[in-house]
């Protein structure tokens, strides 16, 4: 198949037309130069033809995550993930049609968060989520490997994470462990997964606690939500009064479509 010349602008236009909000490019050298993650997780170790990683992202709406865990949050996550998968598949088909090899990849073997950072979409937060200027960590991501060699987008100069540790404080699984010798939290994957399974049983996964509480993101102004005390006082206030006016929207959303949650043994 003959190769047609493709620019980043053409690819961005195509991806956005298909529905992507964020589109970033990272040359595979970024992984080699930075040495942040083990070599076996570098793109060209997973797929040797890879020269560039294209990262696509879609935001999640703060008011829905705020009420989490809920069935609405689960549906929102499903809708964005399905859309991302379709956009990625169709962008791969577009690249293949122009004569370039391209494949999508799974988060099981590849970190979309680090790819997003190397593609200039944001910075890696203390809790190892990608923080974007517009939506903080409230973004779902997918990555495409291609043999089309393109220049990488500039990295964000400023680290967006303020290390406020709200994510650690609110985590229902206590899965984010601060280690002074490390730049990022040590994530207790087992504790996090155990909590996810508890939520899955009740049809109200994903948890969303560490991303809803993050103060980074212009969406906090858009959705007029900078009341962080509300997150931390919730349990105490609702224990005293399950119908407290300040939480009536969250309580209403939670009361539909999901089973009651089993007690979280991590907190016992």
């Amino acid at each position: 198949m003959t190769q047609e010349e493709l620019t980043k602008t053409k690819i961005i236009n195509q991806a956005q037309e298909l529905g992507a909000e964020f589109v970033g490019f990272a040359n595979i050298n970024r992984w080699i130069e930075a040495d942040d993650i083990p070599v076996e997780f570098h793109p060209h170790k997973i797929w040797p033809q890879a020269k560039t990683v294209i990262v696509l992202g879609l935001p999640l709406w703060l008011p829905i995550i705020d009420a989490s865990p809920t069935v609405l949050g689960r549906e929102q996550s499903n809708v964005t993930n399905e859309l991302l998968k379709k956009v990625a598949f169709r962008l791969v088909a577009f690249l293949n049609g122009k004569g370039y090899q391209a494949v999508t990849t799974s988060s099981a073997v590849f970190s979309h968060v680090w790819a997003g950072y190397y593609a200039g979409l944001g910075t890696v937060g203390w809790n190892q989520t990608l923080l974007t200027q517009q939506y903080g960590p409230r973004v779902n991501l997918v990555s495409i490997f291609t043999d089309l060699e393109l220049s990488g987008d500039p990295l964000l100069a400023e680290n967006l994470c303020t290390k406020c540790l709200y994510c650690q404080k609110i985590c229902p699984a206590q899965a984010l462990i601060d280690n002074e010798n490390r730049k990022y939290a040590q994530v207790d994957q087992q504790a996090c997964l155990k909590n996810e399974k508890r939520l899955q049983k009740a049809f109200c996964d994903p948890c969303g606690a560490c991303i809803k509480v993050c103060p980074v993101g212009e969406d906090r102004q858009l959705f007029e939500n900078n009341n962080f005390v509300k997150y931390f006082e919730e349990q105490e206030i609702l224990n005293d009064n399950p119908h407290a006016a300040a939480y009536k929207d969250w309580v209403h959303i939670r009361s539909y479509g999901s089973y009651s949650l089993e007690k979280n043994s991590t907190n016992e």
Binding site: G19, L58, W61, P63, V71, L83, L222, D249, G257
Partner: protein, 163 residues
Amino acid sequence: MAQIEVRLTEIIEHAQDLGAQFVGFASIDRWEESKDVPVELHPHSIWPQAQTVIVLGVPACVDIAPNRPRGQSNVTSDLLDQAAYRLALFLNGKGYPSVNIPQDSTGEGITEHKTVRVFSHERAGYYAKQGRGYHTKNLVTQQENSQLALVSVLTAFQLIDNT
């Protein structure tokens, strides 16, 4: 995220480009005035910034609706959910806070919850079809016996008569 002026016709065209065949608008006042829905199911009870509900619809064939094959149901749900999400994305990008409520917000597999939803798209569609002088593009319900599958976007975008 500065606010950029958006006209109602722009929203209608955008929704149609995304696949919606019915695009209707209902001010949140409709819920308050009619008093036929419990207050906790009103759009601004779910999300206080809501001013307007935009309802998107695609046809659902009436013959098979009572026992709709799962495949077709998934196709319409996916189309509507993605159109609603992308319309919310468009409005948020223009500085109008917006949140789409997915079509099936009842909990997959929880049959006992299927009759009650966190928000009724059908009720929103009913208010939107009444129109109240706002633009309502209705391509399908003009046909007798036709039914629509519906989905809603709650938005801070306010309807005014000259938009």
